[in-house]
């Protein structure tokens, strides 16, 4: 482990981690320490195992080799200390579920029995709604809200469980640029003000630039982690992809040529999503 009191204990740690799903080797020899309070972006092509990494941290998938520790213990299913923000998806417009109900699911939806009205529950829902600035549409049916509004509620839902680690699985996909920026600012704000470590899976690194501390790129079963200026270079990515990759800086945006960076997900089509 090598924690010696000077360095804060890592939030999560994977050592020589390997994952195999069925007969497919997703990644091998993954070495990763998620540091206290850090904002880590995860990029890589579709099927590289970004969501699988989150599933391992959530205790939903087991490593086939190596070890993983989250918040000082092996991951376990349903760990209330981990918040999860999913991809935006469509809700039926008439679904009887209001903004505050979606957030409420994050507070106690996983518990057995009936939902009871409690002052404590209401307080937590209100606090989460306020933290993301979603009070104005808290009473509106979720299915009639815009993608940006829904994703804001998703963040409120995740923090409603009062997590100590936030995992975001492509929360920006299918949002327009403006809403992407809003959601990223919101997550970055939580990360800074609450010192909440964030793992943010994305297929476009650009909305996150200026906010992330480090980038983890997973491709071809291997990975590379470091500050954005070290990972997002032609040399580093060419080596990882084992193919010529060109990283261009165009008007403050990064464009990666020659490497599949994922994207164009068919929402909810993936059998292992979640």
């Amino acid at each position: 482990m090598g924690t010696d009191g000077v360095v804060a204990r890592p939030v999560a740690q994977l050592v020589r981690a390997g994952l195999q799903l069925g007969r497919r080797r997703v990644w091998e020899e993954l070495e990763l320490q998620i540091r206290a309070g850090e904002f880590l972006a995860v990029i890589g092509p579709n099927g590289a195992g970004k969501t699988s990494l989150l599933r391992v941290l959530l205790g939903l998938s087991r490593l086939t080799s190596g070890t993983v520790e989250v918040l000082g213990r092996p991951p376990r299913r349903g760990d209330a200390a981990i918040g999860y923000v999913p991809q935006q998806r469509a809700f039926e417009p008439d679904l009887p579920l209001r903004g505050r109900d979606l957030v409420g699911l994050g507070v106690d939806g996983h518990r057995w029995g009936l939902a009871l009205w409690g002052a404590e529950r209401a307080r937590r829902v209100d606090a989460a709604l306020e933290a993301v600035g979603a009070q104005a549409y808290a009473e509106a049916p979720v299915g009639r809200l815009s993608g940006g509004e829904q994703q804001r509620l998703r963040i409120a839902q995740a923090i409603g469980g009062e997590p100590r680690l936030l995992l975001c699985d492509e929360p920006l996909s299918s949002l327009d640029v403006q809403h992407q920026a809003t959601i990223v600012r919101l997550v970055a704000d939580l990360n800074r003000r609450r010192d909440m470590p964030v793992v943010f899976v994305t297929h476009d690194i650009n909305p996150l630039l200026g906010h992330v501390d480090r980038v983890l790129c997973i491709a071809r079963g291997r990975c590379l982690v470091g500050p954005p200026q070290e990972v997002l270079t032609s040399e580093a990515l060419s080596q990882l992809y084992q193919a010529p990759v060109e990283v261009l800086h165009v008007r403050g945006q990064i464009v990666v040529l020659g490497a599949d960076m994922g994207g164009h997900h068919a929402a909810a089509a993936g059998g292992e999503a979640g």
Binding site: P96, G106, R111, Y137, P141
Partner: protein, 283 residues
Amino acid sequence: MTSLWHYAFVHNALLAGAIVAVVAGLVGPFVVMRNMSFAVHGVAEVGFTGAAGALLIGVAPTTGMLAFTVLAAVAIGLLGVRVRERDVAIGATLAFALGLGVLFLSLYTRYANEAFNLLFGTILGISRQNVEFSAVVGLVTLLALAAVYRPLRFSSVDPDVAAARGVPVRLLSAVFLVILAFAVAEAVQVVGVLLLLTLLISPAAAAELITPHPGRATALSVLIALGCTLGGIVLALYKPWPPSFFISTLSFFVYLLARLLGPRLGARRRSVPDGAVGARPFV
């Protein structure tokens, strides 16, 4: 005509109707949320075969019905996970089961009436014993539903996040199928196999058009189911047409009314215009 109110069969009908309506009203919102109308139909038709088979071997049809609906629910749960896969599996199974049902009924030649009753309901012919059966099955259903209510709701409306939070999504979908099997076996006594959706879909669908509040929508679904069932039974006392006809007509008109009025109520639901989020500077 008012003298009809003194008959035991009327009391039995109203009592069983009320129990069934409460169960259907509470289960209905989950059927709608989970897009399971077709599963309801499938489970019911397999139940029909169970009831027909029970008649053939001299067992109470309600027992055969319940045994087969639970069996069908387990089979559906095992056969298909995704909606499309599930619907195909249900279609194949129910067609086979109905074929068997027809055979059983043709072998059981004593009462042709029984088939009609199973398909369209027998609420006015319900016995004290049947009422007790309904009460027990209804109570079991409600207790099971209460035990899994919160995580079932979570995994019905938001399966990905529910799974991430450790909710056993697949187990709950199997549990719900069994709950549904119980509810179906109950409701068949009142409206019959072919008119089940009138109690298991229409009230919940109407309720969700009227309010987005989950608690109120569920309460409303129960009230509508109760109103239509009891109303239908009472109407059938005054006009000798089948109570199933009255119940399904009432519930259809409530649904139509909700469709007409729902959008107007919905217009007041949104307090923020679209796009306000992006336009407002944040933190």
